[in-house]
Structure formats: C-alpha cells, structure tokens
C-alpha cells in the first residue's frame, strides 16, 4: 500500500483505535495512518467534544494516540502536545502519537492560530490526559482490588506502591476500547474549545517529559524526500492539473475568453464561473502552458490603488472606518502639560507578503457524494466549512485533510487554493490539483497591512514617562477573516460577487511599562479595492505585531535619548518582575555597553556599528531582543550582525524546539525589517517573485544569535510561535540610530530607502 492509498483510505477514528498493538509511534503522520489503515474498521464513533474518546485513545500495546485539531507548521507543536499528554499519562513521549488537522479524526480546535497551540491547545489536551489517567487508575484499582490512592504509574504500567509485583498496563486495562468517559465541554469550537476537569494534574516539580527535548517527527520525511510528505505531493488517479488565471489589473474582469487560443495544447480546457477563470489539463505542464497562452479580453477598470509613493499620506488622510481605544489609564491630556519634555514621532510600515516558499496547492476529489480536500491551510476545519458553503453541500459531506504545505505563517494563499480545488473538482467531476505559480503566492496572497503610527509622550524631571499616547492607523488586519470558513473570505467567492464580510481590527502595543497616564488606540480605513484585491489583508505571523512594536519600541528609545538615559536603564525604570528580568538577561547575554545611544562625535567612518534593544509582550510571553548592526553610510546597506534574545513564555515544554522556533522568527523578522515591502503601482501589485520581493539572503544572515530561555515550570505556557517576531525591527532601528545618529522611522530598512540618510 502506498502512502497515497493510505491517505485516501477513508479512515475512521475507530480504525486508528483498532490499530492497537501494531502501532509504531516514532513516525510521521502518514505512517501512523498507514498502521491504522491495516486494522479492521468497526462502527465509527462520531467526534464529540463531550467525550474523552474524541481527544485520545489507548492502544492494546499501551501506547496512546492524541487527536489534535490543529496543525504544525514546522515548529514542533505536535511534539510538544505529545510531551504534555505523555507527562500526565506517565508515558514516554515516543509512545504518544499525534494526529493533526484531519476533520474526520480531530475536533475543530481552531487550527494553527495566534500561538495558541501549546498554551490553549496543550491545556485542553493536558486535562483530557489527566481525565484518562484518573479513569485508568479507577479501572486498575478494580482489577487489582486495591484503593486507587495506593497506585503509581510508570511507563504506562500501573502498580501498587507497596506491592510492586501487583501491576497492570494501560493496554490491558483499556487498549483498543473506547473510554466512554463524558467531559464537561465549554460549548465552543475553535481555539477557545476547552473542557472542565477536576482530575488531578501533575505538579511541575514532578515533570519528567515536559522540559526535555525529543526531536521532531517530520524531519526525516522531509530530509529523505519521503512520498506524500507535502500537499504538493498528493496524487490520485485520474486527477487533472489546474492553474488559475488572475486578472492583469486589480479589479479587471473578463469581457470574453478565447478558448480556441489553447486549442493546440493536449487536453487543455477553460473553466469559468462568474469572474473566476482557471485552465485544466491532464498534464501539469500543459495546464501551465495553457494558462500562459490563454487569450482574454479584460475590462479596463479605473486605477484602484493610491500612488504608492504617497501610501502613508493616503492612510493618514483616509476617513476612519472604526476607532477603538484599547487601553486607557489616568488622563494623558491632563498630565501632558506637567511634563518637562514632550516628544512626538511618526512611523510607517508597508504591506508585506507571506511569500511562502511555494505558492499554495490543494487537491480535491468528489467521490460517492463526498468532497475530500487535501490542503496546506493552517485551519482545515474552517476550510471544510468554506468548501461546504461554496458548493452548497452539508458540512458533513466535506472532509478536509491537512498535509504540510510550502510555508505556514498565517492566512496565506492556501485557503484560496482549497476552495478553488473543491470548486473545480465539483464542476468537472474529476479530482483536481491546483497549484499557484510564483506570483500567486506573492502578488495575490493576503497581505499584512500597511500602517502609520503616531506616538506622543511626556517626561518628568526624573526622566520617567508620565503620559503616553500611541495611535495606529492603517488597513484592517482582517479585510478577510484569518480563515476560509466562508466563501466571502476567498478570492473565488469574491470573484463570484458574494457579499463581502470585512472585519475592522488592528491592535496596540503589548508591554508592561509602568506609566501613570496612557491612551492607546487604533483606527482602520477602507481597503483601496474592496473585492478580490491583491492587497486584501489578513493575518501574517504575529499579526500587526511587527508594525506596532517597531514604532513603539523605536519611540521608547527616542524617549530614552530625550531623558539622556541608556536604553536598557531607561526601560528598567519602568519595568519590574519578569519583564525587567528578561531585559536584564538579554542585555547581559549581549554584553550591553551602558551609555546614551548615538555615535561618538568624532565618528567619520564609512562603515559604523551600533547596538539596540527592544522589548515586547505577546499574550503573556515576554521577548527582549538586543541587536548589533553594521551600517554602510554610503550605500545605506544595513547588516544585522548579531542578536541576543531573552524569551520568557512560562513553562518550557521542549527547549530545543523552542530555540529553533525563536531562531527562525528572528531571521524571518530580520528579513521583514530589512527588505520586505510589497511594491505596487496604481493598477496592480508589482512584487511578483523573489527578484521583486527580495528576502534576507544567507550571506546577510546574522553571524550569531544567542538565545536565553527563561523557564518558569510553575507558570502555564503562554505561546512561542510568534512573539519573538515583534521586537526585532525596533531593536535593529535602535541599533541603526546608535551607529549613525539617524532615526529611521519607516520600514523596511532597504539600501534604496536609506541611501542618503547618513550623509
């Protein structure tokens, strides 16, 4: 049986359960399913959040399988979940398999979202595991005829504390059978899905598995090119290849399509519905050729976009669609007149693209009245809903299966591909695989929003901040939802003309500075083109975090300068507890030189270096980044040479994987800070590939990234997937100032943007 057949097997959770003793646990997900598929399939038990069986199963060999309604984008979330569950069950981590992101096997736990995988997802799975352990101990007490309080567990074997010979394994107690244990569910699906449990949880002091570093389960499959590792590798017999035709100019629609223009290409044909156009062919290359050759007479709409040179003016002048004051304390207006110094500054951040390593791919097959979609989306349960709504079929008749995609940093183009593959397969009655060409993943993916930020603060005579106002104005972070649960959130739905469902949302700085008077607000403006726009916005890793904290942490440094204070010392004046500890840890690791920032007065060198620091929180996680940069004052080229990072996310589940996660975020955020800016003209996005949307090259990667992991086993994990993205731009900008004495208030810090600034 090939992996393909296995993935196509209509698995049930009972099937996974029955695989029991045959299950080998150190494997990739397809291998897990492989084992499961060989077992006899009995009557399935429907997914039900009020049943323990929907969260985990114990097999005849005493190993466990966890059904986790999220995905892993390569940071090892599944390994962390295995560790958390193994800890509560007293099993080794490698005896816990984790099934991810299959709507037939897992509950809707929201998919990958908001760095909630380990903290909220892990919290639920931990309670489920504790419930299972409690139930297993009750079973063991009955079987061994002793009180449950006298029992201990090691490696999945329950024994009597003072009679070690009396023992029984999990597999013997329940292996291959359902628990049938009811749970108190909070009644919510998505990232907030949770259960209420009174089962005792293991004390952090007794942790054996949490805090260790088992390796990832997907790395070997990726490094040895194992079949069906990626969504792009899934193939089914008789499938057609599709390529999508996007308009050459934003907002254009086809007046007519000349289908005869692709006549000579074997098997190529056009599929058109409403404003949506695709080509299909049996052979992929023929679909690509057809997409390149197809002649279309396009409408000539008025230019949709503002002059890109005046983007930030456009944002500042645009009518406010929604204003929210998120944080308010004391009165800024009352306190400001008493300040001895008032500082104001404005900052700007461009549109950015997910620019995943490959454009999105999805495969869909309609069979026996049921639509199956293989997708790289972060949120397969929402793709299931979106596909059902798009095709107007019951959600129960759609099966979405997550398979690793080429990059996963939020709502990228994967959500669009899933719905488009489903439409094409439904329309043509054949399986259809759709994959974007490079431009689909850069010019046409949902974007991180462009924004401007205005800050104003007053300092008192002692050099402390007495009043602080911070306002952001920009495109909403959610012109489409961060998932594809409704066709209105997809390009195809918008091209069909479905009513739009925009959401107005932005954010404010997350920090713990002790400031007596503050006001933090945001304002959103309308999109420049309201539907099927290549500049439509949605969530990209740490949504609005990089933009906001570039501005707020640059501004804190501007205040430090006004107060003639060292940037570390100035922050410490306003911080305490874990926040202060993280600032100190980063500064110490970096070898921070205490002084007011700025170059020596006699500095005449062409290439200068400087150091900067920035601090931010994200939903409880604290990150401090210190950066050393080198600036060539002639060319404007900035090199981020070295970083020291202090990271406090509460309890650390897997230090090695956390380290790699942070390291990846620092490099990606450096790329976004130094290079990334979606370019457009008044009619279209002109960033279409890696030449027109450059990212950080390995020759520019830092020489060193030192990471200090601050562990607090007693504090529940608060998430690590995204927080370390947000302070990087501020740290670099502050270091540029230290090196040159010039404050850069607009990202990215590309040579062509900075050239002439340091003359």
């Amino acid at each position: 049986m090939t992996h393909l057949d296995l993935l196509r097997t209509d698995l049930t959770r009972r099937g996974v359960l029955k695989s029991a003793g045959a299950l080998v646990v150190s494997f990739s997900a397809p291998a897990a399913l492989a084992q499961a598929a060989t077992a006899a399939v009995a009557a399935p038990k429907p997914l039900d959040p009020t049943q323990l069986d929907s969260y985990l199963a114990i097999h005849r060999d005493g190993s466990a399988t966890v059904f986790f309604g999220k995905i892993d984008g390569g940071q090892g979330t599944d390994v962390g979940i295995a560790q958390i569950v193994a800890e509560e069950l007293d099993l080794p981590a490698d005896r816990v398999a984790v099934i991810l992101g299959d709507t037939a096997l897992t509950l809707n736990q929201g998919g990958a979202s908001g760095s909630f995988g380990i903290n909220w997802g892990g919290r639920t799975m931990r309670k489920a595991a504790a419930e299972a352990r409690q139930f297993l101990l009750q079973l063991a007490a009955k079987r061994l005829k002793v009180p449950a309080e006298t029992l201990t567990v090691a490696n999945g074997v329950v024994s009597v504390a003072d009679a070690p010979g009396k023992k029984i394994g999990y597999g013997q107690l329940i292996g291959g059978k359902f628990f049938n244990v009811p749970l108190k569910w909070n009644g919510k699906y998505g990232i907030v899905l949770d259960i209420d449990s009174t089962a005792p949880l293991k004390k952090p002091a007794d942790y054996k598995v949490v805090g260790t570093s088992p390796k990832r389960r997907d790395v070997k499959a990726k490094v040895f090119a194992q079949a069906a590792t990626y969504v792009t590798d899934i193939r089914v017999p008789g499938m057609l290849h599709a390529r999508v035709i996007r308009p050459p100019v934003a907002g254009a629609t086809a007046n007519s399509v000349d289908a005869s223009s692709i006549d000579g290409i074997p098997g190529a044909r056009v599929v058109q519905k409403g404003g949506y156009i695709a080509v299909v062919a049996e052979k992929e290359w023929n679909a690509i050729r057809a997409a390149q050759r197809l002649k279309i007479d396009w409408s000539q709409p008025a230019p949709a976009f503002a002059d890109p040179a005046k983007l930030y003016d456009h944002i500042r002048k645009a009518p406010v669609r929604k204003r929210v004051v998120e944080k308010q304390k004391g009165s800024v207006d009352d306190a400001m007149p008493g300040a001895v110094q008032v500082v104001t500054a404005d900052y700007a951040w461009p549109f950015q693209s997910h620019a995943s390593m490959g454009s999105a791919c999805a495969l869909a097959e309609m069979k026996d009245g049921k639509m199956t979609v293989w997708t790289g989306t972060q949120k397969p349960h929402y793709a299931q809903q979106g596909v059902a709504a798009l095709l107007d079929i019951p959600v129960e008749r759609v099966h979405a299966i997550w398979v690793t995609g080429p990059g996963s940093y939020g709502r990228n183009d994967a959500g669009d591909a899933a719905l488009e593959a489903a439409f094409l397969a439904h329309e043509l009655g054949k399986p259809v695989r759709v994959q974007g060409m490079r431009a689909e993943g850069i010019a046409w993916d949902p974007k991180a929003p462009a924004s401007v930020h205005h800050a104003r603060a007053g300092l008192d005579a002692s050099g402390k901040i007495v009043a602080y106002q911070f306002e952001s104005k920009g495109f909403s972070r959610l012109e489409i939802e961060s998932n594809e649960s409704h066709p209105a959130y997809s390009l195809i739905g918008q091209q069909w003309g479905l009513p739009l469902k925009p959401i107005d949302s932005f954010g404010t700085p997350d920090e713990a500075y002790d400031i007596p008077n503050r006001l933090m607000a945001w304002e959103t403006i309308a999109p420049m083109l309201d539907r099927a726009s290549p500049l439509r916005t949605s969530h990209q890793r740490d949504p609005v975090g990089p933009q906001i904290h570039f501005a707020s942490e640059s501004f804190i440094d501007e205040l430090a300068l006004a107060a003639k204070a060292d940037p570390v010392a100035f922050r410490l004046r306003h911080l305490s507890g874990r926040d202060a500890a993280a600032v100190k840890a980063a500064a110490e690791k970096f070898g921070w030189e205490t002084r007011v920032s700025g170059p020596a007065a006699d500095s005449k060198a062409d290439v200068v270096t400087g150091r900067g620091i920035a601090y931010a929180k994200r939903l409880g996680t604290i990150v401090v980044v210190a950066a050393e940069v080198e600036v060539d004052r002639r060319s404007g080229k900035v090199r981020a040479k070295r970083f020291a990072v202090a990271h406090d996310c509460g309890c650390i589940v897997n230090p090695a994987l956390l380290h790699n996660t942070i390291e990846g975020n620092i490099v990606q955020a450096t790329s976004r800070s130094l290079w990334e800016e979606v370019r457009f003209d008044r009619q279209k996005v002109t960033s279409v590939d890696w030449a027109t949307y450059p990212i950080l090259d390995i020759t520019e990667a830092p020489e060193k990234i030192d990471i200090v992991l601050l562990d607090h086993p007693e504090i529940p994990p608060s998430g690590a997937g995204e927080p370390s993205s947000r302070p990087v731009a501020g740290a670099i900008a502050n270091a540029i100032f230290d090196a040159t004495g010039v404050r850069i208030r607009r990202a990215p810090f590309r040579p062509e943007n900075l050239k002439g600034s340091f003359a």
Binding site: G74, M357, L657, E663, W690, I695, L696
Partner: protein, 155 residues
Amino acid sequence: MATQMRLTVDGKSHVISVDDPDMPLLYALRDELGLSNPHFGCGLAQCGACTVHVNGEATRSCVTPLSAVKGATIVTLAGLGTAEHPHPLQAAYVEEQVPQCGYCVNGWIMTAAALLKSNPHPSDADIRKGLSGLKCRCGTHMAIIRAVKRAASMA
C-alpha cells in the same frame, strides 16, 4: 506529437513520453516519474527548491528544458541518500533539526552537496557564498549553516 525520451534518475533508467521538448525537467521528474522531490518553488530559478544534480552539477530543474538533459545522469534528494544510508548532509540536517516547513530543503542540501564535493572543508564565508541565492522563508539559515559545518566535519 509526443516523442519518447530516456532519462537516468537516481540510478534507474526511464523512458518518458514528451509532448513538448521545452518542458522543464522538473515536470518530468514529478509528473512522469512520480517523484516527490524536487519541488516547484518559483519556476524562475530564483529559489532552488527544484534543484537536482545533472551530471554532478547542482541544477535548477524548473528552467532546464528536457532537450538539454538528453543522456544526462540525474540525482535527486531521494537518490542522494536514504534513512538507512544518509548523505552526511542529510544526517546533519536530522541531527540539527534544520527544517521548519522544509519545502526548501531540497535546494539547500543538493547545492551544499555539490559545494562540499568541490570544497570539502568550507569556511563560514565559503558556505554562505556557495549557498547564496537559495531561499528559506521560515528563516532556518542559522541551522542550515550549522548542518553544513557538521556534515563537512563528518566527511
């Protein structure tokens, strides 16, 4: 008209049917031979996700027409080594847990393998220069450099 063409890939000889001699090698490897590697990343030779060895040279298969590889010996990531007999770079990648999404792995390992063949003990600067232009969107560059150094020390 479709024509027949012979390709030697990972030590095996194949005959494929070709509609268009200008078709890039990538699509023959993926669609005609059913390989999961290399990957389509950009189709423009800008990222490296499609890299294979053609007669030992790291080559971007997404822009290499079939007509240019007649009679060539082609090695893909799957042919470079296996879990049982890994290439030192593959072993180092596992040891360092390099990839996140991993879609770029193909380009880095195949290019680094060619680099190590011509320069078995590269400096940090040699590694960066030799791998310049390859893309990794997840930002695993630090781990990539560690893995190449580790592989060089294993050889």
